[in-house]
Amino acid sequence: MKAHLTRRYMFSASHRLHSEAMSAEENHSTYGKCNNPHGHGHNYALEVTVSGPVDEHTGMICNLVDLDNFVDREILERFDHQNLNTLSEFSGEVPTTENLCASIYEIVQEGFRHARLEKVRLEETMMNSFEYAGGAEIWR
């Protein structure tokens, strides 16, 4: 039987939304306060959803320890307490939460082998959240 498991993680990072492709006025009108040159930060809440058949011997989709270790090493180590603008992932891209959400999806999708990644959900604040499932529609 196939089930979906979602694990929630927290990390904090700073960013500045600024596009080289835009003029100063355009940056200001597009990104508002988020264009402040010194940046600002968020406590991000990350939800990773994986799916798969429930193993009859363990009762699990995948061992939570494997998922936690992977996310610690590949996501939290990389993004927690960082200035996102300084990271190579965002050298050519504005570190919006949309792009961060997609980056995290790609990393988990490529590296995590113990279950199928369904989607990544990222809360930037209690008011804003973003979801990404690669090319797939999210209907659940």
Binding site: K2, A3, L5, T6, V54, H57, G59
Partner: protein, 136 residues
């Protein structure tokens, strides 16, 4: 089609152990959850049903009936129980959050009349939940 979600809470204890594994394998795979004396969680359950709105009642499902079914089939059986020892599904299956979601689905699905079960979501903690959609 309208979807309706009802929330409920229950507390239960469990431990993870497979008699086919060696003691070392049990400890390695299940870690702290292998302690045979068990440990507990405050589970949050979300049951989502779907259906067309009845033109006379305006309901997808009679919430009072849904609550009764939920209490009788699920909460009375699971709340304040040691899952491994008191709930028949878990005499043979390991009471992981995955298997709990499946067991709750199997208890509810045949009892629902007007609406159709869409999803069972079980939170073991705020940081971990499992969704089951009845997929085989």
């Amino acid at each position: 089609m309208v979807y309706l979600t009802r929330k409920a809470e229950f507390s239960a204890s469990h431990y993870y152990h497979n008699p086919d594994f060696t003691p070392e394998e049990n400890r390695r795979i299940f870690g702290k959850c292998n302690n045979p004396n068990g440990h507990g969680h405050n589970y949050t359950l979300e049951v989502t049903v779907k259906g067309d709105v009845d033109p006379r009642s305006g309901f997808v499902v009679d919430l009072k009936q849904l609550k009764e079914i939920l209490n009788r089939e699920v909460l009375d059986a699971l709340d304040h129980r040691f899952l491994n020892k008191e709930v028949p599904e878990f005499f043979t299956r390991i009471p992981t959050t995955e298997n709990l979601a499946i067991a709750i689905w199997q208890r509810l699905a045949p009892k629902l009349k007007t609406a159709q079960l869409h999803r069972v979501r079980v939170y073991e903690t705020q940081d971990l939940f499992v969704d089951f959609y009845g997929e085989v």
